[in-house]
Amino acid sequence: MDEAKLRVRDLRKSFGSKVVLDGIDLDVAEHQLVCLIGSSGSGKSTLLRCVDLLEPIDSGSIWIDDEEITAPYVDPNAVRRRIGIVFQSYNLFPHMNVLDNVTLGPRRAHGIDRESAERRARELLERFGLADKVLVYPDQLSGGQQQRVAIVRALAAEPELLLLDEITAALDPELIAEVLDVIRDLKGQGLTMLLATHEMGFARDIADVVCFLDQGRILEQGPPSEIFSHPSEPRTRQFLERIIDAGRL
């Protein structure tokens, strides 16, 4: 059995009186791609942000390899350097061109020299079909291109774990495919990924494990063949039926 790269134990998080994560237990093994599905507000984004230590947790623990990253003495910046995250709204830095966006993390957070950082950046950008956009500014790119740059930015420092928060939700339909292709490519490279998504078809194709989140808990999880074809929980079934009705599956 693979070593669990990421372990989440009984994670709880509330915003004020609203409980968003109600005891999450989750394992992501190395090289696995785990998909989180569920309706809006079910806590997918919050879970990802908590894993990246962008939100403080109320209780529970998160482990990367053997290290408890939620322990009080841990340096959160060091943890975040090991994890890459891609957001729904890309969040590229508008005042920098693509190359600077991608090399900012490696150069400033990892101390990599400019030449090496740029070399790696260009390699990645070329690999994902953005070689000619290297000196372009984000506002001149399409949504799909910006999201691909955001993915490259997250990959630039060779993260051990990549988190993806509904990365196609803000894209026009015709641009979604190019982004999903990138994820496929990364899976082929063996990158460990935790992905929140609405794209059920994609999840079914590519995920190793699918977790259905409902009201802050993982109601059901398993391989896609199980979850999509024979969900055991009634709420899971309800959710999937709604998705099918909406033509998204």
Binding site: L54, I83, F87, L92, F93, L104, A109
Partner: protein
Amino acid sequence: MNSESPVSHGPPRLTGERGAGGIGHRWKELKVQDGARGALIAFFSTVVVFGVVTWVILSSSTWPAVRRQFFSVRHLREVWPAVWGGFALDVKMFIVAEVLILAFALLVAVIRSLRGPAFFPLRMLTIVYIDILRGIPLILLILILGFGVPALTLPGVPNDPVFWGVTALVISYSAYTSEVYRAGIESVHESQRSAARALGLTQWQALRFAILPQAVRNVVPALLNGLVSLQKDVALVSILGVREAVREAQIYNARTFNYTGLIAAAILFLIISVPAARFTDWYTARERRLRGGH
């Protein structure tokens, strides 16, 4: 057999060179005509309006006295060297003050925006500073620092009125400017901060590389407004006896009872402040245009 594909005209062009039809041609003609006619009308109406106003002023009975008191060429010749030299001092004070303000205000704004309980006392300090310095009228501050501090004759403390005048300008304007910066910082979406932290950058690095460049860019028009305002407020230092343009004009006025020096000083200030204001407008419009693109 000719198998020519149908000629594609592409999207309809409004300003057709050879006319994508009569409408395009006429529209272009109209545009040119409007431009020339518009300019001509503007010219004549300007001449008429200014002409009438000028005639009314010149023919009034008090005009000769006013002209002598305010627009005398002889007095202008006499007072000009002093006012011009004084204005050079105004410009120097302005440049020094503006540089210090931009830097100090940024420091205050950054401190104010620091997160975390450890920084609470510093944040409190900046809030108190901003409240007090925005609450005291600038002229009062100049008097307090310019006369009050030197009067204490503390050892090692400079007693030069220019020094204290500029200091008063700097700490007063910095209070306002730091709030401008703060608005800029807060206008940068929180997600930018998340993205920067997510890369592993520290709070400082996130500020320095991701937030501040955007924040400052967002508030350049407001900063420029502050600059235009400061350029005039520099003249307040005259109450400390500093011999800049306004003061020189006042001195001449007190000696001769003639106000031409004041008009001369006003013109010198306008020479800087009007282009500065126009530049601010142009820059603001340009930014709006560039940003409005999406």
